[in-house]
């Protein structure tokens, strides 16, 4: 187990190092000059040169990378070119909102997908199955930029139950979480259905039924735990994506999360913020996948034996 853990953590650290290099290089390769962004078009060439010098942008690339890397080790991600605020502060402001929205969306997704997927699998080829899978198809087909305003219209304007957008009270998370959650639930429900169907045909399920277990008990206690592994992989990927900032949903709902921060920074060409946001999202994705791997090994001991 220790060997498995160490290997996984080391490979995750290697991936993070790769991401740091890639993000740094990409930001330096894309067209645009941070100095011009800061000083504007009317700046004198001498002013531009002195600012370039002050920011260390005149140094060779490897030296700039080393300074950037040392800064990262001290959690110094630089400052925003536009607001002048420390990027770490900006991220600290935004990450809780994204985390909160992601977790609530995940709960919504699981809450919808689990019963739908199970019912569809157990009642295969019945109207219940078709209904559940129809819902899944519906959920996958509706883009978030359409679903969001539709939910606002119904939930906020017609019913008046929720705020239209923003983070304004406990119930403001409901509409964005439903927007994200239904789309995720659709994919998840299909995965649960196919995984459970696969397990339902296994010998141990026949044994479970033969020893007198009720159908519900057999499904919940034997089929579902054994069908969990592929579902967990999908959940890990989805959570990683969510934590990376649900850009469209955060924009529609003016949700002050990481996705909205990144979009604003891209629009303004605020390079250090884009760099930090991409890095943050990548690291989050890697960490969530690492956790999924570890959870995988914990749920299915055969995996760590294979690795060993």
């Amino acid at each position: 187990m220790t060997h498995f853990l160490v290997t996984r953590i080391l490979s995750a650290m290697l991936a993070i190092l790769g991401v740091i290099c890639l993000v740094f290089l990409l930001i330096h390769l894309i067209p645009g000059d941070p100095v011009e962004v800061m000083l504007g078009e009317s700046a004198q060439p001498t002013d531009k040169e002195s600012l370039r010098h002050a920011l260390g942008l005149n140094l060779p690339l490897h030296q700039q990378w080393w300074i950037y890397f040392k800064g990262l080790l001290h959690l110094d991600l630089g400052t925003s070119l536009f607001s002048g605020r420390a990027i770490v502060d900006l991220l600290i402001e935004r990450i809780p909102a994204t985390l909160y929205l992601s977790l609530v969306s995940l709960i919504v997704a699981i809450g919808l997908a689990l019963p739908l997927g199970l019912v569809a699998a157990v009642r295969q080829h019945t109207p219940l199955d078709y209904g559940a899978m129809g819902f899944a198809l519906f959920g996958m087909s509706i883009p978030n930029f359409w679903m969001g305003p539709l939910l606002i219209l119904v939930g906020a304007l017609w019913l008046g139950w929720f705020p239209v957008s923003g983070q304004e009270g406990w119930n403001s998370v409901v509409l964005p979480a439903l927007t994200l959650g239904t789309a995720m639930a659709a994919i998840l429900a299909r995965m649960i259905r196919s995984s459970v169907l696969e397990v339902l045909g296994e010998d141990f399920m026949r044994t479970a039924r033969a020893k007198g277990l009720s159908s519900t008990r057999a499904v919940l206690h034997h089929a579902l735990p054994n069908a969990l592994l592929p579902i967990l992989t999908l959940l890990g990927l989805q959570l990683g994506g969510l934590l990376g900032g649900a850009v469209i949903t955060e924009t529609v709902f003016a949700w002050p999360g990481l996705g909205l921060l990144m979009i604003e920074a891209i629009q303004q060409r605020d390079y250090p913020v884009v760099q930090a946001a991409v890095l943050c999202i990548s690291v989050t994705y890697i960490m969530v996948n690492l956790l999924t791997d570890l959870l995988y090994a914990w749920l299915d001991p055969r995996i760590q034996f294979t690795t060993d």
Partner: protein, 501 residues
């Protein structure tokens, strides 16, 4: 964990009922006036800071904090008016604060984007705590109009105070709180009226929030049909004023097609601006013939302009060597904003009718603007926003002002225009200066580095739970100085139930 997060981020502190919530398309990026360049920051900073000079009727510089005298062409003396305002920390604003602010901007280490235009200042003296002397490197009759930057306290500048995060000015409003990057709360010093600025990027969501009375004021940045839709509802009032933001088509003069004056004139005659204004902009604009509108002191009272005349456009194209079998093809760059794209499509159709093929290329704002600044375009549409001083002519049209020196992005070069700019800058007689700038604008209209399109109106949609808001001529937020709460805004306006039965 979820419950913990719930309590951490889910429940924000509720503001008093009388708080006016102002929906913005873009959040202010910097509350330090030395660095702020975007329109939202500039408008907000006007509320938080006072400035030496402002602009009055006809966009003429008028005293704000100070009156001034021109002691010599290179020496301006500013006397602070009594009573001098107090900064939000209680200290009284003095000439030393003025000097410290402008010295800070002029210091290259500050890296202020406003340094460029202010580099004309050679020295600043403060003979008394009420008097500031500005000595210039060379005469510039437009100089007082450059001193519109908010004044910061000298001691806080020296201490490196983070004004961008915690603004400290002497304006009518003081900063209260910035709960996150999308919200900002300020308070009117006179009576405690609070205003919360909320960033809502999506125009449809901004509209829905106004309908639900979750915000009380929206100003500009909405598609015309949404403005019409909102203005038809009780509970919301529409205010509208003529604006001075100049929309135009720009051309690359080095291009073999649009570099020809005849082709540009054909384009000017091919675009039916009146109908675009009437049907697409819903009448919320007026046709422009020059960069400044007639009410600006340097704006031309009337210019002949280019009427919609497809026959004349075809004739000009033929004269330029193009016909049915040999149609010019022009690439038209614009942003991905759906409304701008719609305008581009209409212009594409109208130019097609006279025999010009147009390929539209739309890019996200950063890429689009980057391309324009670097001269990577054949034709593009853009607007000059908030331009008040005629020094813009040198910046945008002088043959020496091609990037990176200036914003003559299309490489326009005209000896007569250059001469008129220089003469206008050198003369100290206002009347003569006005005549020269008007002649210059007639020349620009004749040679068409830009095809002028229109000046879009400013508008504000205000919830009837608030009164007293007056939309200003240049779209700033000064109307918040008079706004008052009328009653309980907690219940959504009645019209919503009728709207969506």
């Amino acid at each position: 964990m979820v419950i913990g997060l719930f309590s951490l981020v889910g429940c924000s502190e509720s503001l008093p009922d009388y708080t006016l919530r102002f929906g913005l398309a873009n959040a202010p990026t910097n509350l330090d006036p030395r660095y702020a360049t975007d329109a939202t920051s500039a408008r907000l900073n006007r509320l938080l800071y006072s400035r030496l000079v402002d602009f009055g009727e006809g966009t003429i510089p008028i005293p704000a904090l100070a009156t001034w005298r021109e002691l010599s062409p290179t020496h301006y003396q500013f006397d602070l008016q009594e009573p001098r305002p107090l900064f939000h920390n209680g200290a009284q604003l003095s000439a030393y604060d003025v000097k410290a602010t402008y010295d800070s901007i002029l210091n290259p280490d500050t890296a202020s984007p406003h340094r460029g235009i202010l580099q004309i200042i050679a020295r600043i003296d403060t003979p008394t705590e009420n008097t500031v002397d500005f000595f210039l490197k060379q005469p510039d009759a437009l100089f007082p109009g450059y001193l519109v930057i908010g004044i910061l306290p000298a001691n806080l500048i020296a201490n490196g105070h983070p004004f961008h995060d915690h603004p400290m000015g002497s304006g009518p409003f003081q900063f209260l709180e910035r709960p996150d990057d999308t919200r900002l709360i300020i308070e009117r010093r006179a009576d405690g009226q609070r205003v919360e600025f909320v960033r809502i990027p999506d125009p449809t969501v901004r509209t829905l929030k106004l309908l639900a009375n979750e915000i009380h004021l929206v100003q500009n940045d909405l598609p015309p049909e949404l403005v019409t839709y909102l203005s038809a509802h009780e509970g919301i009032t529409l205010q509208q004023r003529q604006g001075a933001n100049f929309a135009y088509l720009g051309f690359n003069q080095l291009d073999p097609v649009v570099g020809q004056e005849l082709v540009r004139k054909a384009i000017a005659h091919a675009i039916d601006r009146e109908h675009i204004i009437q049907f697409v902009l819903k009448g919320r604009a007026r046709v422009a013939q020059a960069l400044f509108p007639p009410e600006h002191w340097a704006g031309p009272a009337s210019l002949p302009g280019y009427t919609y005349d497809p026959a004349e456009a075809k004739r000009l194209l033929k004269e330029a060597g193009f016909d049915h079998d040999h149609r010019p093809t022009i690439t038209y760059k614009t942003s991905t904003d759906p409304f701008r794209l719609r305008l581009a499509t209409i212009i594409q159709y109208q130019l097609d009718q006279v025999g010009i093929d147009v390929l539209i290329q739309s890019h996200d704002w950063g890429t689009f603007y980057g391309d324009i600044k670097s001269g990577r375009f054949q034709m593009y549409s853009l607007a000059w926003v908030g331009v008040k001083s005629p020094d813009i002519f040198r910046y945008a049209f002088h043959s020496d002002a091609t990037p990176p020196v200036g914003a003559n992005r299309g490489h326009y070069a005209d000896a007569l225009a250059d001469r008129l700019m220089t003469q206008a800058e050198q003369t100290l007689n206002t009347q003569e200066q006005q005549t020269l700038y008007r002649t210059l604008q007639a020349r620009l209209l004749d040679t068409l580095p830009y095809v002028p399109l229109w000046f879009e109106d400013h508008y504000a949609l205000v919830s009837t739970t608030f009164t007293g808001y007056q939309l200003s001529a240049d779209g700033n937020f000064d109307g918040l100085n008079q706004v008052r709460w009328l009653g309980s805004p907690s219940a959504p306006p009645k019209h919503i139930t009728r709207l969506y039965p």
